[in-house]
């Protein structure tokens, strides 16, 4: 164990952890939203993210950009970023809706047991990621250097870069808007109603199908944003990028209390920080183990996560 390393690098570890955590949190929202309403782990959400991470690359590819290109001018970077975001959001959104349509809706119509949904979601996930894998020959795809990381400010040995600020700000903004939407709007209340008692919700005039689609869509939008951030941060994507990060996002969602939006935020940030600290303390190879140990410990003390469930039903 390397305590002095942790203390010495605390600042830089914290800021990278926060940036990482912000992406995880955005990603985690999709799990939490769907779980909150359907009580199902949407295993295919990782692929919603995955396709988003390719979508922006493809759009940037139209402009002749690949990872060996030079960084374009600031103005065009802004334009490209927006385009990339839109592309990722659209593709992720469509994917999420598609997953719902193919893997969930038919089962819902047939009143299938919950496990069946889990398995179709796994099937959808396998199908999408493997198809991408075969099409890309499982190679990585590099991201054009749209943003050259530059220090914006420095505190001690903590260098905060423009990219990190962008990621954190964008993530927090998206989550704030989502939270307001769910908790304040009429539709948001409809979502919660379907979560708690689908039949009663229908008796109140809530369109269950639309609410469910909406929830998938919202999760998809967030994943799309997360995917672009991820691309910029890591610089590459690969057919299994969704799967690898998905486990973390799912962990974060549970950590915070799955079904609870703010829980996802908390869980994501916590996980991002913890992983960086743990990597410094114990070595990078223990990074994931650390997050799971933390998860288990927290669940033992708080069996429904840090913030508990709020979107979902309480004990009747």
């Amino acid at each position: 164990m390397n305590f002095s390393g942790l203390i010495q690098d605390f600042g830089p570890l914290t800021i990278t952890g926060l940036a990482q955590g912000a992406i995880i949190a955005l990603f985690a929202l999709g799990y939490t939203l769907v779980y909150g309403v359907l009580r199902l782990i949407n295993f295919a959400h990782s692929e919603v993210f995955l396709l988003g991470s390719y979508a922006c690359l493809i759009v940037w590819g139209f402009f002749g950009l690949d990872q060996n290109s030079a960084t374009p001018s600031t103005l065009s970077v802004i334009g490209l970023l927006l385009l990339g975001l839109v592309a990722a959001i659209v593709i992720s959104g469509i994917t999420a809706l598609g997953v719902e349509l193919v893997a969930y809706r038919p089962l819902r119509k047939r009143n299938a047991p919950p496990l069946a949904f889990l398995i179709t979601a796994i099937g959808a996930s396998l199908f999408i990621s493997e198809t991408v894998g075969v099409m890309t020959q499982r190679n990585i795809k590099g991201v054009p250097p749209l943003i050259q990381p530059r220090d914006v400010f420095v505190i001690g040995n903590m260098h905060v870069t423009n990219l990190q600020i962008l990621i954190i700000v964008l993530a927090l903004m998206s989550m704030f808007l989502l939270d307001r939407f769910i908790n304040r709007s009429r539709l948001g209340r409809g979502i919660r109603a379907v979560a708690q008692n689908p039949d009663s919700a229908a008796l109140m005039g809530v369109n269950k199908g639309r609410v469910i689609s909406l929830v998938f869509l919202l999760g998809g939008l967030m994943a799309g944003i997360a995917a672009v951030m991820y691309d910029l941060k890591i610089g590459v994507t690969r057919f299994d990028a969704g799967f690898l990060l998905g486990i973390e996002a799912f962990t974060a969602a549970v950590l915070g209390g799955i079904g609870n939006l703010r829980g996802a935020l908390l869980g994501g940030l916590l996980l991002g920080l913890l992983q960086n600290y743990a990597a410094s303390l114990f070595g990078t190879e223990w990074l994931h183990a650390a997050s799971f140990v933390l998860l288990v410990l927290i669940l033992l003390v708080r069996p429904t996560g840090l913030l508990g469930e709020s979107l979902g039903r309480a004990r009747a």
């Binding site: 089962l107 796994i122 493997e130 894998g133 075969v134 140990v293 288990v296």
Partner: protein
Amino acid sequence: MTTEATSSPAPQTPVPGAVSAREKKNRRQDSGGVRGWFGRQNPWVRAGLMVLFAVLAFLLPYVGEIPLIGPQIVTQGIDWPSALFNMSYYVLLALGLNVVVGFAGLLDLGYVGFFAVGAYTVALLSSPDSVLRTEWGWTAAVPIGLAVAMLSGLVLGYPTLRLRGDYLAIVTLGFAEIIRIVATSTETLRGDRGFSDIPHPPGEFADGKPIFGVADAVPYYWLGLAVIILVILGVRNLDNSRVGRSWLAIREDQEAAEIMGVRTIKYKLWAFAIGAFIGGLGGVMFAGQQGFMNSQTFVLQFSILVLAGVVMGGSGNIAGAILGGALISYIPDRLRGIQDPIWHTDLFGFRFAIFGAVIIVIMIFRPQGLIPSRRRAMELKDREKEVAPIE
């Protein structure tokens, strides 16, 4: 329908919603299908059929010899008996996971963790690579492997008893990942490098050649099959007893079960322990056949695959678990050597993509799985004849 209820001394209440003849008939059809039909046969017929199935299963390595159909069944390009052995330990895993998920309703996403524990214990005790340097034989290491696996089931089970449904899922997933990471990153467990030269099961032919060698996998398959049959017998007995019923009750409503006197903690722990035992059994079989194992053998995808097998086959149903377990091993392999009509590439590359699509299709058309559980319906049929209604 009028009633004499008020004056009747016995609480033979009017039978509201009495079953019309039509409904009765419907219900009988409800338990139709292969399984229901099977359940209605008399015990001797059933036993006979079971033996027949078993014999057929033992003959599977030679199915390729059957003209026309045989070659369609056999996977080309790989050693068929090896493929059969692989199926056998997948089936074992599916059977074990079915106890945990299908019977007790404990969603376990890290089930191969137990497989790992069983295999690692055997490896540590028997491989020359191990720090222990004990280099035991396979047979000596197996009981310890199973005991440790079972113990690990309890170790995982105990702290997680309070967790509900999907929280349990993520913790079990985490548990398996921790096992994998520990195995990857500690010197003693040798990580990616793994343990080689794990001994095979003992035994020699008359000519002095080992029965369990490297060139012929048939004996391994038969061993696997024998183990499977024993496991089926045990698991079936549990399912058809108060144990199975208690699991079911816990799965449905834990608090109500407790208030009805079910010791939920005990039965959950048993489910974990039995599941872990069977998983460990798969692990020791695997280690004994492969002679090698490392931390990559236990990736998360493996757990998920087994779960998919159980649910696809029919969660809570033994025959379903067997079928599902066999399919998850068979389908991807079978795509080897088949060309797609357009680009003429080997479909093997697409195996998991195709497999994913197959899973979706199966679940959409059979949400309850390929062979859904009919246990309850069957039990009733057995009883209906015994207790005739009084009127």
